[in-house]
Symmetry: C2
Subunit: 413 residues, 2 copies
């Protein structure tokens, strides 16, 4: 029994969601092989296939102004509502590779179409790794053939391994979800750990379900849950050229999830918990990360609330204090002030782990020993109350320690 | 002969500007004493006085939504065009101290008014140090009396020492400026080194001249030159609650600088070079800093150009690469994409130390050994060309290394 996926106090396991022993949702097969793009025979190429002709899907991508070739090809040359296969590689991001990079991505897509026996418009691509280096297309195509021969219903572990880069641990889950109309499965494979040494950060996540959905429902559920998970985390405030999330539904369970039904609500809750916990795993795997912070901000203006949360989460001062287990509220106050220019005097409150340390903009006396102990755990929560009501948001963030600097500064190119 | 103030290739010494042996511009006296706010008898209280009845002045402050008490009092209870004295302390920022903090700042201002013999509205305040801790008012007031007794025309060194916190080196200059109408002097004392351990970053800068100006000219010159200096630097993207810049003009040289005259232009050039070099000293003194980066961005839209420059300058990936002496253009491309969401495809160029590494969004081949050597120096320049023309900006930034983490995470509160 694989236990302990829902490890964060911020993501309680919903009662109708149960961890299983692994394996993909029904109707899916996957494999992960060593194509030779990475040295030392490490797995670096994953293939995921949905065997249902009437599969539906949905996807989300990075909003970066600099898009990697696999993102361009997937966005522009597929039917995102009808994907049947995913080819994902690590070791080369195929980013900033110009027209050649797009050609190589398109060739990968075409090859997968032939190998798997689906239309090219049904093949999504994902890449992560070094940038600015041409993709070793022959190796990827060779690996694709090999992977096709190794597709298995329990190939999710190999697939997840093949998309890892600096990830210290594999990020995947296999869940059983009890819906009013019957049981369905959710499986997911994810990678992300801040920046990929020595280049880009990338977050990839592939989710499968055997629920029977229409494409609009898949798109709605993915959109809402991505906004509450991968959109709410920050390792170091950077944005990858390659971020990709794909949800595919095989329908193989026969359990139909109608729009606006109780089934949809319960499936959405399960997907929400799944993606939030995966997102927290990415934060926890932030390079050199020791602690996760959660900043909750409420106030009147949604835009201001969002800016404050992001500024606090990305402040190197707040992040080093989190790393050091230091309840340094002055740094949080500084970040709030920097986020809200020309608004002084600003009567706001800060609470750390439930202890109010600043009220109406002025510091309070508090039990320092108790607070010091409270911020020494693996998760630290900051609540910032700006004036007014009606808007609230949260951002999860990693700390900043020596290992981040070591990983990102102390290597030789 | 104090030499070597203009050390950066980015701030050449103007031909009509000469370093002098130190000392304040005529008409000014200063002192720096140990008031006891800091332990160990370290200087922590500076007093600066202008002896000319008709002095003029101008000031600029942090735009943070969280303003320290000395900033509030200086902004709201002085005539910024007619300042005659500055009281500046280190060791306590008097920030986030609520109504008591404002009362303490006002009491300091009143005391200085009595001691120096000027109106309270002519006394500016500056503080830097720990936040959220009540100011030890009795020590500050005692120090003020002592400092008054030690005022000297060459007290600028002591004054500069009194406002240092984590600064590794004193930041000050004494310049002779040849204007068409005669010689004038400029002197300046500055502090700033990224974050003040363990709390706020603060930049304080006090500039004196004996040129004979009207207040509007002083305000114009300070506004333009602050925009090109302290507004263009980033140690770690943070914004202090206490940042303050004050320019005072005694007129003691008798050299009148008329609006829109050649004298005004030449004085402006001198002030510009002075503040830019001081700003670069702050960046160079960034906590643990080994190298200064300069990112120049040009394109069509001023707002986009500014956002790209700030995003690159504050990217922890770019900053760690700078620290490691690594020409990692992929990280710069990542930052550009993150700054300009939803703009792909974005045909832009990146040059590092004059070597174009990315053109039209695709990586180029270049001489890696030569570029590796070029980015190993003390100053590294990045030029980013976005599509279009007409807008250009620059940001100077420090690198991110282990010492930053050590200073900001590894201490005990």
């Amino acid at each position: 029994m694989s236990s302990g996926f829902f490890t964060s106090r911020w993501v309680p396991r919903p009662g109708h969601v149960h961890e299983t022993e692994g394996g993909l949702a029904r109707g899916f097969r996957a494999a992960g092989v060593a194509s030779g793009v990475k040295a030392d025979g490490v797995k670096d190429l994953g293939l995921l296939v949905c065997d249902a002709d009437d599969a539906v899907s949905a996807a989300r991508f990075t909003r970066s102004g600099v898009l990697a070739a696999p993102v361009v090809v997937t966005k522009e040359r597929t039917d995102l509502a009808n994907l049947r296969a995913v080819v994902a590689n690590s070791g080369n991001a195929n980013a900033a590779t110009g027209a050649q990079g797009v050609e190589d991505a398109a060739a990968t897509q075409q090859a997968a179409s032939r190998v798997v026996g689906v239309d090219a418009t049904q093949v999504a691509l994902g890449s992560t790794g070094v940038i600015g280096v041409p993709l070793q297309l022959d190796r990827v195509l060779g690996g694709l053939e090999t992977a096709h021969g190794e597709l298995r219903t329990d190939g999710d572990g190999d697939f997840a391994d093949a998309i890892r880069t600096t990830d210290r641990f594999a990020k995947r889950a296999s869940l059983l979800v009890e819906l009013p109309s019957g049981d369905v499965r959710l499986s997911a494979q994810c990678k992300g750990a801040g920046m990929i040494q020595p280049n880009f950060a990338t977050m990839l996540c592939f989710v499968q379900t055997d629920a029977l959905l229409d494409a609009d429902t898949a798109n709605l559920l993915l959109g809402v849950t991505v906004k509450r998970s991968f959109d709410r985390i920050s390792v170091d405030g950077q944005l990858s050229t390659n971020d990709t999330v794909v949800l595919m539904a095989s329908g193989a369970s026969g359990v139909r999830v109608e729009p606006e039904s109780e089934d949809e609500l319960k499936l959405g809750e399960a997907l929400d918990a799944l993606l939030r916990q995966l997102a927290l795993q990415i934060v926890a795997d932030g390079e050199g990360s020791k602690r996760i912070g959660r900043v909750v901000v409420h106030g009147e203006d949604p835009e201001a609330v969002e800016r404050v949360a992001r500024t606090v989460a990305n402040s190197p001062l707040v992040k080093t204090a989190l790393h050091g287990g230091d309840p340094n509220w002055g740094r949080i106050a500084q970040a709030v002030g920097a986020a809200l220019l020309d608004t002084a005097p600003l009567p706001f409150d800060i609470a750390i782990e439930g202890v109010t340390v600043l009220a109406d903009g002025a510091g309070l006396r508090f039990d320092e020993a108790a607070l010091n102990a409270a911020v020494g755990g693996s998760e630290v929560e900051y609540v910032i109350a700006l004036p007014g009501e009606g808007a609230e948001t949260e951002v999860f963030f990693s700390d900043l320690g020596h290992e981040y600097v070591t990983i990102n500064a102390d290597y030789t190119t």
